[in-house]
């Protein structure tokens, strides 16, 4: 494999600002790592002697596990930090925690935080360490966008000229924001189907086609993405109840077969069967959510590699 010549930045803070070529570089590198997961000994020595800190200051299962496995498969030493039991609980600021960590000379800090922009804040302090954004508030989740892109590219053979339709809570979805920027950068169209409490007018200004009903929104879609309906806090409820939401917005095989029979379906977050998406769809042929999880590890291996030693040596697979 050859370098694309397009330099990557020190950090991966978001999809915003990445070029077509840079995105392709991540995806090409990830594809070469896919094979490692199929081996009986799932380990390559690529990042031996490198230290990766997984700083997850917000609850996460799949992303954290995925990053940890990715690091371990590359033989890096990985350390996990959560807000519970860390000094952040004792009143230490994010900046101080991160600067303290940097003094232990990790090669990368993978960071999940509930505040939008927190990795950007740290980027001006961590000058010797790569920051990998693993989700910041409602803002971005770049590795998720890359793994979604890899999944679509492998399934449909391209990432341009697609109609990608998101269904659900895009307002509070960093996955949506990152996916949307990536798809637009690569020349695809983004749609949103959601109730108007979520699909506010600003989405149109953002260049997203907005629909309040499944029929017109699904028509002609190449990819349908189910977004999680967060329903934890009463104050932030966008629908009267999840059961009412599912009356109109549940992704069912009937709807897909009728309006976009050839589409594939992605489900990035934890999904609720029967509410956001029917079991028939999630377990059916058009569903790629298991591939997404597998691709997630490869994408994160690529990101960790490219942001640590990838810039130093040319890696031939």
């Amino acid at each position: 494999m050859k370098h694309c010549g397009e330099k990557l930045g020190q950090h991966l803070l978001g999809i915003a600002g990445l070029s077509k070529e840079q995105i392709a570089y991540y995806l090409d590198t990830a594809e070469t790592f896919l094979e490692v997961g199929t081996r009986s000994v799932k380990k390559v020595p690529t990042l031996r002697g490198k230290t990766i800190v997984n700083m997850f200051l917000e609850d996460s299962t799949r992303t954290r596990t995925s990053f940890e496995i990715a690091g371990k498969r590359l033989s890096a030493d990985t350390v996990n930090i959560s807000s519970k039991g860390s000094s952040m609980n004792k009143g230490e600021t994010l900046i101080d925690t991160a600067v303290t960590l940097q003094c232990m000379q990790p090669d990368a800090v993978v960071m999940r935080h509930a505040s939008s922009g927190s990795p950007h804040l740290l980027a001006s302090y961590l000058t010797d360490t790569a920051i990998i954004n693993a989700g910041d508030g409602l803002h971005e989740h770049p590795t998720q966008a890359l793994l979604d892109a890899l999944t679509v590219r492998k399934a449909l053979g391209r990432l341009n000229d697609l109609v990608v339709t998101f269904v659900g809570d895009a307002y509070r979805s960093r996955v949506f924001r990152s996916d949307k920027i990536l798809l637009e950068t690569l020349g695809s169209k983004v749609r949103l189907i959601a109730p108007p409490t979520i699909a506010k007018n600003e989405f149109k200004d953002l260049g997203v086609e907005v629909f309040f009903d499944m029929e017109s929104g699904l028509k002609g879609s190449d990819v349908v993405v189910s977004l999680r309906m967060k329903h934890e806090y009463l104050n932030d409820c966008f629908v009267p109840s999840l059961s009412e939401y599912s009356r109109r917005f549940c992704i069912t095989e009937n709807l897909l077969a009728k309006y976009c029979p050839d589409c594939i379906v992605l489900a990035p977050g934890p999904f609720v069967r029967g509410t956001e998406i029917s079991s028939e769809v999630i377990d059916g042929n058009r569903s790629f959510y298991t591939d997404q999880v597998a691709h997630g590890v490869a994408v994160r291996m690529a990101v960790l590699y490219l942001h640590t030693i990838g810039k130093e040596v040319s890696y031939e697979v």
């Binding site: 600021t93 505040s115 939008s116 922009g117 927190s118 804040l121 508030g137 971005e140 924001r177 989405f203």
Partner: protein, 441 residues
Amino acid sequence: MRCKKLFIQGARVVDPSANIDGEFDVLIEDGFIKAVGQQCVFDKRTDINTINASGKILVPGLCDIHTHLREPGFEWKETIQSGCETAISGGFTSLVCMPNTNPIIDNAQVVKFILDKGYEQNLCEIFPLGSISLGELGEQMSPMLELKEAGCVGFSDDGKPVMSALLLRKAMEYSLMLETTLALHEEDKELSNCGSMHEGLHSLKLGLKGIPGAAEDAIIARDIEIARLTGARVHICHLSSKRSVQLVKRAKEDGIKVTAEVTPHNLSFIDSDIGWFNTAFKMNPPLRSIEDREALLEGLVSGIIDCVASDHAPHDSDSKNKEFDQASFGVIGLQTTLPVMMELVRQKHITLKRAIAALTCDARKVFNLPSVKIVAGAKANLTLIDPHLNFTLNDYSNRSKSCNSPFWERSFQGSACLTIVNGQIAFEAAGEVEPQVANYR
């Protein structure tokens, strides 16, 4: 050494309240303006400090009706001393300070503490506001009579809205007896829903929760109706949206006793200026859209918005240098308010006369503060503006204890070069003469 007499020669004197605009000499003696005229005659043998002010603009001392001095309670952010020093170097000779200190200005002791401290500093006049509700908790009225007698010139729960319409109605009715003004921070907390910037395209992009313009507009509409009901005098603090300007216009047309202010930052920036999560641009109300900004400027020019107020809100770097949604709201502004206005004048967005009125007489009228005029016999509180003086707010020029400014390191042309309080030079821009601090009482 202090001179008893001060002679300001050849300045363009602009006093909108006295309808003066022309080249005059001003003679100051014993803290008062002795004479204003062309070619003043005086006894040259006496000890007199003559200031050649040709090309400069002499205006009544500026008045900021929205300052957070932070003392008592938050002395690491600002003190009465540092706040007053900041004010005079920005050309202000009077300040109205907000009651959200710790303790809150809701009893006579705190008022006395602030007035005594101000007296000790001897820098500029301080007029405190008392809180509308006890402890700014929005539950029961503060002792407004006691506060007024102690020296409060008006009332406000600034930083927070008075969410209870009933409490506000009672406070408005009670204020009639005290012939005072209630200054209202207008924000429907439920609509703003813990947002940290203007709700719009940019907040959507950044993934930050938004504060819609309607959070301000809805509560202004409510409060105008309560003012209509009660006949009270209300002042709407820091307008930020286009709709709010329209609401105030309508209320004024209806004869409701309402005044309004706008901040220099809302006149200068819009939401996208936040860039990548720059907390120096985080304040409440937030920077809004370009249409909002234009409407605010139009409102100020036409007089729908009476005055400009800095909303000087110092915060230490620890409260600002953090995650955007967790950082404190507020920016400092006492030293950049006049430069911003002079820039708007130079760009011909606003006339000099209107800009000066918005910083002097029209601001003082809001709380019925003693008027300051450039006429013989008046108290000599004056600001000399050099329209060509370069000013940049940075570590060297900043007088505040905090540096949370969106104008940090931005260079301006036009700033105060001399601030005179009670006939004495309280501030002089670094130049030939070292700045000296007046002992004005």
